[in-house]
Symmetry: none
Subunit: 391 residues, 2 copies
DNA sequence: CGCGCCGTCG
DNA sequence: CGACGGCGCG
């Protein structure tokens, strides 16, 4: 059975607000680690992944993995019945067809209880490999919201370009063209040379090895090492085409959503190859990039040899500072990237700003953008394939 | 070329917000004095005139007069992309077909640049004569907003009546009738006898003669003295009929919007006939009013002889006090006026309240109302013809 | 200044 | 019918 007690209903409400427009039904995959939700958006262009850490709950118990098929519209309605600061307990029996929600007012003078019907949802959970990116932009989430909403007034698409200059968002439209350039806050040169990978708050301050090995629950749940070799067809079309999974090499029943294509060796995605990993990474990343019509030099390698450990600590320091000052803008770049995305989706993603004062944009050329919001109890991550004709 | 640097985008944003519903396309007439915009509203019932003083810009340069044809919807969109406190630079090359806008965040970590397409717009700029009115009400702009919004819930029209009692706004509706009476703040008797003419802030404290001669750029730009004799047909209908310009006597190519009908002599609109002007005014105004079903005595003349100079200084003092205390209500009256206007338009005009804490209502019987908001860098003025059946 | 409600647009 | 934006209120 599942029993998860959340200190505040607000987190859940905001989460649902953030994704309910994108996804109508989804499985809440509950296990002893916490709760995960992963789904393609309704038009199968974007992917959203939510994680709620077991430790983030006031109380958490889940004897064995159970998927709870939830209609998000229904859950949103039920959650509207909770005040933001209500203590909220989610309960589901094994094989249950209802999710029980109990809202307890802070002062306990009110207890509300709801039973929401569950549904069976085809679990097309994709394994999302932990991928290295060429660039990460960390900025105030409100700023990101602002930029994409502004530009969405002008046109449909935005080109996001990370260079030494900073990060530029540029759109073209009927009435006007617009371009927003954000520079690293302190004017320091753009950080580079460190590995740029998604990580969660709870991983701050732990060793990088640990980060790499431990951060993607999806990996442990679904993917074997062999499965890691599966390859996503990045169909970079303008609209409604799925980010489909290539069947070749698939060896277990689970599909994998794999934004990066550094897959010939694939071992760097595992946490068990430790320090050698960096070098492997560079080799593989470099090879791959060449193959992909981006044959520029590998600044990553150079940077790595010159400043690997220092830039690692710098990265961590930067992240801490962001926590202290949500206004900071940090740009890490190992490679110039320039990608074009649908503003409609980015505007949608940016709703999650209420969950977290900052957002990370992780990019590599020709690879889906990762938009990540990390909050205390977990994260919400969006993946969006670039449009074709980008550059 | 034009290059105009504004300390805060907010001013421009508020201006556009204020007029974009009224007007869709308009020429920004730029010259070395500043920027002017003048347009009839879409249904040609009201006229809006905006002036931005060159001196109000952080930097201003305009080599030669250039009209920039702007779609206000587009400009509004582009301005939405600016934060209120962004330093904003407008640039346009000679004969350019785009307006370049650069927004620079106060801390310079963000620079956004937009290019907005320009269009050719028939420049039907009207010369707006500097007219003397029978009454001026200066009141907190929020108060005006409130009153017209309140009354608009009851009916379509408001009768605005200025008398010794104060200024009364009265509406009649199906469900209820309403009347709001505002008295001069300090309870002092209503000022009268001075010339009541629109003036801008920068003119405070200069001689009245200078005010009269120098305050309407539209005059210098467009109207000759002969043109002043042109006469507006005041078609005082409820809705869609233009405030058209009468062709008779028109001697240059420029049309003129002429809210006052003291036009047989017409010279009082020039600054060069000084003190005698008042008497001419009274004669002409009186004649005209008689012709138009307002045959009341001419209190203006009496007031002038008794308190002309003292009330002039009082007027200036009153305006200064308004600057100090935006809550003050000042009523100046040379003649009882009673006019009826469409509330829909007044509600629309009152949006400009965000630009300036006070508003001036200038009225003469049977003449378009002038609603004027003066802010630091310029002004926005609305003219609205009275409805028939007023009084 | 932030939140909630109403109206408009997709 | 739902979402987004604007306006009004506390």
């Amino acid at each position: 059975m599942l029993e998860a007690k959340l200190a505040e209903a607000g987190t859940l409400k905001k989460l649902l607000d953030a994704i309910k427009e994108l996804v109508t039904d989804a499985n809440f995959e509950c296990n002893e680690e916490g709760i995960n939700l992963q789904a393609m958006d309704n038009s199968h262009v974007a992917l959203v992944a939510v994680h709620l850490e077991a430790a983030g709950f006031k109380r958490y118990r889940c004897d064995r993995p159970m998927p709870l098929g939830v209609n998000l519209t229904s859950l949103t309605k039920v959650l509207k019945c909770a005040k933001d600061d209500d203590i909220t307990t989610l309960k589901a029996a094994d094989e249950a067809d209802v999710l029980n929600l109990v809202y307890e007012a802070k002062n306990s003078d009110r207890i509300a209880e709801y039973d929401m019907k569950l549904m069976d949802i085809d679990s097309d959970t994709l394994g999302i490999p932990d991928t290295e990116y060429d660039a990460r932009v960390t900025m105030p989430s409100a700023e990101f919201t602002r930029i994409v909403r502004d530009l969405s007034q002008l046109g449909e698409s935005v080109r996001i370009e990370v260079s030494k200059e900073g990060v530029r968002f540029a759109s073209e439209g009927e009435a006007a063209n617009g371009s927003v350039l954000m520079k690293q806050t302190d004017g320091a040169s753009v950080a580079g040379g460190n590995k740029i990978m998604a990580k969660t708050k709870r991983e701050d301050g732990v060793d990088e090895e640990e980060q790499e090995g431990g951060e993607e629950e999806e990996q442990e749940e679904g993917g074997s090492k062999k499965a890691k070799k599966e390859k996503v067809k990045k169909e970079k079309t303008d609209g409604d085409v799925d980010m489909v999974v290539d069947d070749e090499e698939k060896e277990d029943g689970e599909e994998e959503f794999k934004p990066n294509s550094d897959d010939e060796e694939g071992e760097e995605e595992q946490g068990d190859d430790d320090e050698n990993e960096d070098e492997d990474d560079d080799e593989e990343g470099g090879k791959k990039r060449k193959k992909k019509a981006n044959g520029s030099a590998k600044p990553k390698k150079k940077a790595k040899t010159s400043s690997s450990s220092s830039s690692k600590s710098k990265l961590k320091k930067g992240k801490k500072e962001d926590d202290e000052d949500a206004q900071a803008i940090t740009i890490e770049m190992n490679q110039h990237v320039s990608l074009t995305f649908s503003l409609k989706y980015l505007v949608n993603f940016s709703k999650s700003a209420s969950l977290c004062p900052k957002v990370q944009l992780m990019m590599s050329n020709d690879v889906p953008l990762l938009v990540a919001y990390d909050f205390g109890q977990g994260y919400i991550r969006y993946y969006l394939a670039p449009k074709i004709g980008d550059d």
